[in-house]
Symmetry: C2
Subunit: 478 residues, 2 copies
């Protein structure tokens, strides 16, 4: 136990310093390392394996809906980036510029893609001619670069991994459906695979994506009550199509501009996993994306039969889950702490007395529950236990969000809540940017989204008292 | 048939202009599009799907050997790139430099990674301390950038996709074993999944990787007789480890430098697939990486039962292969040409008369063979047919390489062969760089590799007449 204690003591407690707790977990669970390129992170094997599982899961969801993967270039010529006015204004201040190739100065600067709308549009202009060419449902998995002043692993880094879907449709209606469909894919994925409850909604004009007509978002609440935008989906209308001259002959032989969407989810979501489920013993991973779902720890492995039976169990269990056996020379206590730190959903302990009684002990990472199981039933029990861990994580996160979400109807109440109660605040809004800015200034909260599930908790704007147009979630955000 | 002919006529024949044939295939099979960023390519869905299949196959081979995936940053600070002298000399002339972030000039230039040895080494210095930390078997899937003057899709592009493995070992022996093991993985993959025969060998010092002690290569022969380096594996000794200060405490409590390897395979391999198997009707894809392995084409689909049976067949066949049904309104002839162009290994035709007789026709893309199969046996036959296509492609490519490989023992013969016979030339070499350069100058051939399977076809160097040290494959290369 002393070793175990020592390891655990190295993490700062959430209560003491949440930001420090976060960086401790990220380092101790061996998710990332820092690189000397400013603000860039190295994803270590354990961190990258989580991303691989996320990628595999989401990719299957995209493909089931008919999306195809492509690869666009890393570079965007400056003139191409400038084609859509709002877009370039939003992104130009934060891009990295390539000015030299080898020893030669380039005649035109290239930016390292911060997002690829412009590249997709350039290509779409080549391949979309007729309504028969639509819809185009493309996606790419890549990294993008945004020059950030202050960075934190997963949450805000100069380079990050993501997927970006870019689609083109015959009609505005179809494009709007796609925008909503993909937001639902993200929300379902968060619920079903990450055990993260999210609020689905629409961004205000102030918070929407540069160049978009509408931005939809899923917002999750972290342990400290802050909101984390976990995935976004944008509707562009035909703005980019016009800027890039993308036209098609429609069913009535008329020339039309197609309607466009884009949607993205990034390695940021790993930050959401950490801060939604983690605790003072370290990471807690939702089973669907955990690189190791169950770790087998033999206890007193030198005793006859223990090591052999543990290896046999691991082999059998590998048919139903991602399993690892740790037969290293470290003490069981050290191993327990290590796999708690790494957030492995289930730990299976097997010692000589267990072996005698044809049983083992399985410990749940999410709530510490210890179960004694017959060796005959363990293979059947593990998938059920993984499902129970998932459900347990989701319920806990949902309950926390509900407990930390406050409805307010006056500015006084809003400011007081913002100051004293970490969490999200729900309040009515008139739709004016001025009120949005006043709330930012007076309460330090930004609008997170106008939820799809609207409710009329008051008839007037919390700020100006004019008739309310929408219920808005307000909060502090990552 | 007129439509079919029209489509086919649009490709230049191999015999007429091989380079033009290549670009025609790449465009007409919808593998790539050109981007406005100089020398960058867009991988379209069909091209990218081939890469996804390659990636999935290779990734499983790497993981089965204990390799783990990571993500290193896109950028390398100039000072980091400069740490290993030979390496920076080799790469500096062809890197893209980022000099500005947003509006600010950077205090240190960053290069966009041309390869990531330096990044891996920086990280390894953080995480390797003891022999217990070894071996480190890391790999990453990413894109890299090399500023190329002249570019061709897949073969030479400014940005390309690849995987790069970077490993660290306790001893030189282990690292050398890894270097060879990974070359064998590439060679097996080429044979088993791409139906491409390769020559395995070692590069001469002149041709080896910048900073490596030894470079191993697999060389494939294209339709036009030119060689294509299809994958490489490098042994670095402890050169980088010394430059980067990576040390570990060994089993005897002594401080040691670890020994290093790296190995890579890129989208270039798609160029090899095209130029090994393609023909004047277009692409011919090896079944293991073909996005569509069998296309079902209903003939006279308006006749009772045809469309339904075709759909039912496609559904059943999807259990044994990647299948697509084309029930569009295009004529069967147009479809035949289209899927020939796209290199789909098998085409299944089903018409009303077939239906009456409970049969279908299956056509092999590799040799045009038409088979009439009972509908009861087709599901069982398809996997066998796909295997037959694979074997047929391999045998044909191997026979061609053998027929186009020439043994020579005199310079006169070497020059004559180089001038008149496209293909590879085998000749003995003394090991002197001067002779290598003379052969380049006089015959226009470069050394492709010293094959692992050595043979003494003469006792003296083909160039200088001094005692021969090695048999070398010489050729023109992509």
């Amino acid at each position: 136990m002393s070793e175990q204690k020592k390891l655990v003591e190295e993490i700062t407690s959430m209560e003491v310093d949440f930001a420090k707790w976060y960086t401790d977990v990220v380092k101790k669970a061996e998710l990332v390392d820092y690189a000397s390129s400013k603000g860039c992170m190295i994803l270590r094997p354990y961190g990258y394996a989580i991303w691989e599982n996320i990628q595999k899961d989401l990719d299957a969801r995209f493909k089931a809906l008919g999306h195809e993967n492509v690869m666009m270039p890393l570079f965007i010529p400056e003139s191409l980036l400038q084609k859509e006015k709002d877009h370039v204004e939003g992104f130009a201040p934060e891009v990295a510029w390539v000015t030299h190739g080898g020893d030669e100065k380039l005649s035109e600067r290239l930016c390292v893609r911060p997002t690829s709308e412009t590249l997709f549009c350039e290509h779409y202009a080549h391949v979309i001619h007729s309504y028969r060419d639509l819809p185009k449902l493309y996606n790419q998995w890549c990294s993008v670069v945004r020059w950030e002043k202050t960075t934190r692993p997963f949450l805000r880094t100069t380079e990050f991994l993501w997927q970006e879907g870019h689609t083109m449709h015959e009609t505005a209606e179809e494009a709007l459906e796609e925008t909503e469909r993909m937001l639902n894919v993200y929300a379902d994925f968060c619920k079903e695979s990450l055990a993260i409850p999210v609020v689905k909604g629409r961004k205000t004009d102030k918070e929407k994506f540069a160049g978009a007509e509408a931005t939809y978002t899923i917002e999750a609440m972290m342990h400290d009550g802050k909101a984390l935008q976990s995935g976004t989906s944008h509707y562009f209308g035909d703005g980019f199509a016009k800027a890039f001259g993308i036209q098609f002959v429609d069913r009535n032989n008329q020339l039309q501009y197609p309607h466009q969407t884009s949607w993205g989810l990034s390695t940021r979501i790993i930050g959401a996993i950490i801060m939604t489920h983690g605790d003072d013993s370290g990471l807690v991973l939702p089973p669907a994306v955990a690189p190791v779902q169950l770790v087998v720890v033999p206890v007193a492995a030198h005793k006859p039969g223990v090591a052999e039976k543990a290896a046999e169990l691991a082999e059998t269990l590998s048919g139903v889950c991602r399993v690892k056996i740790d037969d290293s020379k470290q003490s069981p206590g050290w191993k327990f702490a290590e796999y708690e730190m790494k957030g492995v959903p289930l730990r299976l302990e097997l010692g000589p007395r267990d072996l005698e009684q044809n049983r083992c002990v399985v410990v749940r990472r999410d709530n510490g529950e210890k179960l004694t199981l017959s060796l005959d039933e363990v293979v059947k029990a593990v998938p059920q236990l993984l499902a129970a861990v998932h459900d347990g994580l989701y319920e806990k996160a949902l309950a926390r969000r509900q407990a930390m979400t406050y409805d307010v109807t006056t500015m006084e109440d809003l400011c007081h809540t913002a100051e004293h109660k970490p969490g999200l605040v729900r309040a009515m809004w008139c739709g004016d940017r001025q009120c949005e800015e006043a709330i930012k200034e007076q309460a330090g909260l930004t609008s997170r989204c106008m939820p799809f599930e609207q409710q009329q908790i008051s008839d007037v704007c919390v700020c100006c008292g004019k008739p309310a147009k929408a219920l808005v979630y307000w909060g502090k955000q990552y």
